[in-house]
Amino acid sequence: MASTRTTLRTHWVALRAMLVFTLVLGVAYTALVTAIGQLALPARANGSLVHDAAGEVVGSSLIGQSFADASGAPLPGWFQPRPSAAGDGYDGGASSGSNLGPENPDLVSAIGERRSRVAAADGVSPDAVPADALTASGSGLDPHISPEYARRQVARVAEVRGLPEAEVAKLVDAHVQGRDLGYLGDETVNVLELNLALAALVGD
């Protein structure tokens, strides 16, 4: 067995090593990466913020946001994102999925309610509502919807905004993001970017 003296010495070495690691791997490394990020890629390092026509920051292109009124009712004049389990919905300070299991009765009834609500609002058959419109994402901050869900919303948005459907449909088509490198992930539509373009169109 090791003597007390050896044991103490080992811990003294360990303590000094840990302090060196903390300074180099904690402080210096973080400072270096931050400096590189802030100097070379400031827009991305600071959250890919997007601005409206007036130049005001309205959010991040990477973080989904709510297009509902204060009571949580969806505003029909905006393209709607997916359901969100982050706080009261798209709370950037409380990212979270619902964590409801596949047999959880709360999830089963929520999906049913969403299906009839979305179908009624968009004027489509309940069978035509795509899965991403019925399910909350893992982060609760998913900025995207499927192109299919965006297209289902065209008629509603066009009607509320008093725009020709074809024009709104063109807007959606222009905002379909292909797969990364042509084959990674799924095709998506960024809801905030689409709605920004919509706002520019109607001068909102």
């Binding site: 360990a14 999925g97 990364d180």
Partner: protein
Amino acid sequence: MAALLAVAQAATLALVLGLLYRPLGDYMARIYTSDRDLKVERGLYRLIGVDPRGEQSWPAYLRGVLAFSLVGLLLVYALQRMQAVLPYSLGLPAVPEGLAFNTAASFVANTNWQSYSPELTMGYTVQLAGLAVQNFVSAAVGIAIAVALVRGFARRGSATIGNFWVDLVRGAFRLLLPLSIVGAIVLVVGGVVQNFNGFTEVSTLAGGTQQLPGGPVASQEVIKLLGTNGGGFFNANSAHPFENPTAWTNLFEVVLMLAIPFALPRTFGRMVGSNRQGYAILAVMATLYVVSLVTLSALEAAGNGTAPQLAGAAMEGKEARFGIFGSTLFGTTSTLTSTGAVNSMHDSFTALGGMMPMLNMMLGEVAPGGVGSGLYGMLVLAVIAVFIAGLLVGRTPEYLGKKIGPREIKLASLYILVTPTLVLAGTALSFAIPGVREDVEHVSIWNPGVHGMSEVLYAFTSASNNNGSAFAGLTANTPWLNTALGVAMLLGRFVPIVFVLALAGSLAAQRKVPETAGTLPTYKPQFVGLLVGVTVLITALTYFPVLTLGPLAEGLS
């Protein structure tokens, strides 16, 4: 079409890992066998009081590991308790004792189980000076243990297995740090944030307000994955767009998790002087990985279960930009390594799909496993496999020229027994202790029915195997779970390490036995098949009963 795209993505991953296998594996072998120290390292050794040429016996090596980890545990605990007076803490208070213990144990044990919601709990200083540092050094410790065991096979008649401090310093500074700097920059290019801005309040387009988080995320994200740690900067972990913004960063993050564990068999082959021994281990790991990935992907694509059927696809808890395969690829990788990061919520997977991450961890995280821990876990299984082959076909139980005698088999068996004991005892006690049971059922469990039991089983499987992922509906920030899971993480990490280092010492002391006609060739497909079989069989026999109480009951009813 979807299947074709999935195959293309998987093929890209295989290609990248294939290209990395030799250079990275050889580089690691050089790191751990070179007798030259860099100038800056010599200064560092003087500073911490270590003779870099001083070789250690296995007990001395173990003392270093334990002392270093104890100091880390106390430091991370202290930083959390002092949070209120630390800079860049975003006004957050000190972390309560139980949670601070659980978190310190979790990060020192390379687990990164998170009983807390980071946005609401951890300021930037605790994250970067406490948690991120442990992400580096706990990974370096894991590789050091694996290298020590490989030295046990490589050395002959040796009383020593290396120097822990040298292995630790080289792993951190020559391997993890340079790769992390490059990886962090790539992630920032993809959109991962790196700042000290705190929360920014913005007025949203529809006239509401939103808090946008900031933080030094990229620097922590890269080592969280490269070191197979897994602790998210944010609650949603790698599902959060600021941690994992695009489909290509998602694939890049998968590469980060797999790069070192899949290259270590090469390092092993190099160090024992036979590359084909490395290829055999690689083949075992890759076989298990592919089978697991295909199974989970098929289950999630099929989307069985009431809620997924009703929604039309198993998209609950999954991000649109990753799709189903981007989610199953990440989930499989994260739980077959010891990472435990998630880019989709495993709690919302289909019932049988949700069983796959559990099974992956129950395999002992050896395909390819955590950095270092995957290789030493697989080598212990190889020792068992050689022994079983000896019993079955009358071969002399030896591996890489070392006799597998009673002492080696005892140590390997004890290693195999540790995690199942922790998993099953922890789960059982959660439902058996009066008072605890009520607390677990009414406070911790989120989903009703057998799925709730799966949440508890998942938690103890994850903690004991040092994974860190969760059926995250579970509220783990309770006195019982913080304590029990914290203890499970520490025992699940350090007790097996004791057995591995003892095994390393025992093997290093042996002379090489000459190969004879009775020697089992451990580089041939038949051994690969045997080792795959042993790995699966041990897991199945151990865990089948408890799986029938949870995910199997849910998925087959």
